[in-house]
């Protein structure tokens, strides 16, 4: 038998994308909305989620799916807030994928929830290419990381529905150019919203909470 060449032309991530689409349409059968939060390690994902849960306590029923390479520190601090927290250990893997989310969702009562946060693994490269079936993607960029990150890691910023510049309380100590950032960001992704916040001091978080309310108020997103 001879060697034959065959055309394949198949997207390697197609299986993940298909699972993600399935998750989204399943979630659409419930009032719940899912937001995937991505950033570098230490940019403030857990702090932002904690603040948000506390703010919406009694208004929205929130659950968290926590992605972590090995530990359960973040899930433990979230479950202290008395909200359902599902831990996914990726076992060294640098991102969550749609299969992991599908499994985690099986442990949540979707009828009893308004909002699910997915705290992705801290990483600006790998996380960006894996659709998790969330309705929205939020990216946090913290001031100490620098304002050049959209140039270095453009993909994650293209996938973002909202970009939060976090830790603005330390702006005086860094060269982050807060004024020109929205122009760069919107050039790359015209439909994204840019917000400046400090999850520590609470400054600017009203804009984020309003964004959440808008997201939850939309029927089709």
């Amino acid at each position: 038998m001879d060697i034959r060449q065959i055309r394949v032309k198949k997207d390697i991530l197609s299986a993940n994308s298909k699972t993600a689409e399935g998750i989204r349409s399943r979630l659409d059968g419930y009032p719940v909305r899912m937001i995937n939060i991505m950033s570098s390690p230490g940019a403030g994902k857990t702090s932002l989620i904690t603040r948000t849960i506390n703010f919406f306590k009694g208004t929205y029923r929130i659950a968290v799916i926590e992605g972590d390479i090995a530990s359960s520190i973040d899930a433990e601090s979230i479950s202290k807030l008395n909200v359902p927290a599902i831990q996914i250990n990726t076992g060294g893997g640098c991102h969550l994928d749609a299969n992991m989310i599908e499994k985690a969702l099986a442990d949540l009562e979707l009828d009893d929830l308004d909002l699910i946060f997915v705290e992705n693994v801290g990483n600006l490269v790998c996380t960006a290419d894996f659709d998790l079936g969330a309705h929205k993607n939020a990216v946090i960029l913290s001031v100490p990381e620098g304002d050049d990150k959209p140039y270095k890691y453009p993909v994650i910023f293209v996938e973002a529905d909202v970009v939060l510049i976090n830790k603005i309380d330390v702006l005086p100590y860094f060269d982050f150019d807060l004024d020109s950032f929205p122009e760069i960001m919107n050039g790359l992704n015209p439909s994204t919203t840019v917000l400046s916040v400090s999850a520590k001091s609470g400054e600017g978080l009203d804009g984020w909470f309003a964004w959440i309310e808008r997201t939850l108020g939309q029927d089709n997103i």
Binding site: M1, D2, I3, R4, Q5, I6, R7, V8, K9, K10, D11, I12, L13, S14, A15, N16, T90, G92, G93, C94, H95, D97, V125, C126, D129, D148, P150, Y151, K152, P154, V155, V158, E183, I184, N186, G187, L188, P190
Partner: protein, 113 residues
Amino acid sequence: MHEQSIVASLLSLALEDAKTNNARRIISIKLVVGELTGIEEDAVKFYFGFMAKDTIANGATLEFNITKAQLRCRDCDIIFPRDKLNFNCPECGKKAVEIVGGRELYIESMEIL
């Protein structure tokens, strides 16, 4: 560790197509990989080496076609390569760009026996 899940997906796609084409062995797989995916050729080959072991893709060669990041100016429509330090359009100088290349990640073709 990004590459481990990439290799798992690529292997199952390759095996599926090999089966449809009644292949006894996969000799080589041609991949198109955009530089923005951050995927390392050596790491993919490393994982493929042992993940393909008990399959008809064992020993198959992986060929990489790495594509560069390309930007399209939203105003003048020209396409230009990414400059790591800025995204300014070489024609109009504006920073309104769309990524049109460098995110590819697919199997182009295979040689089968």
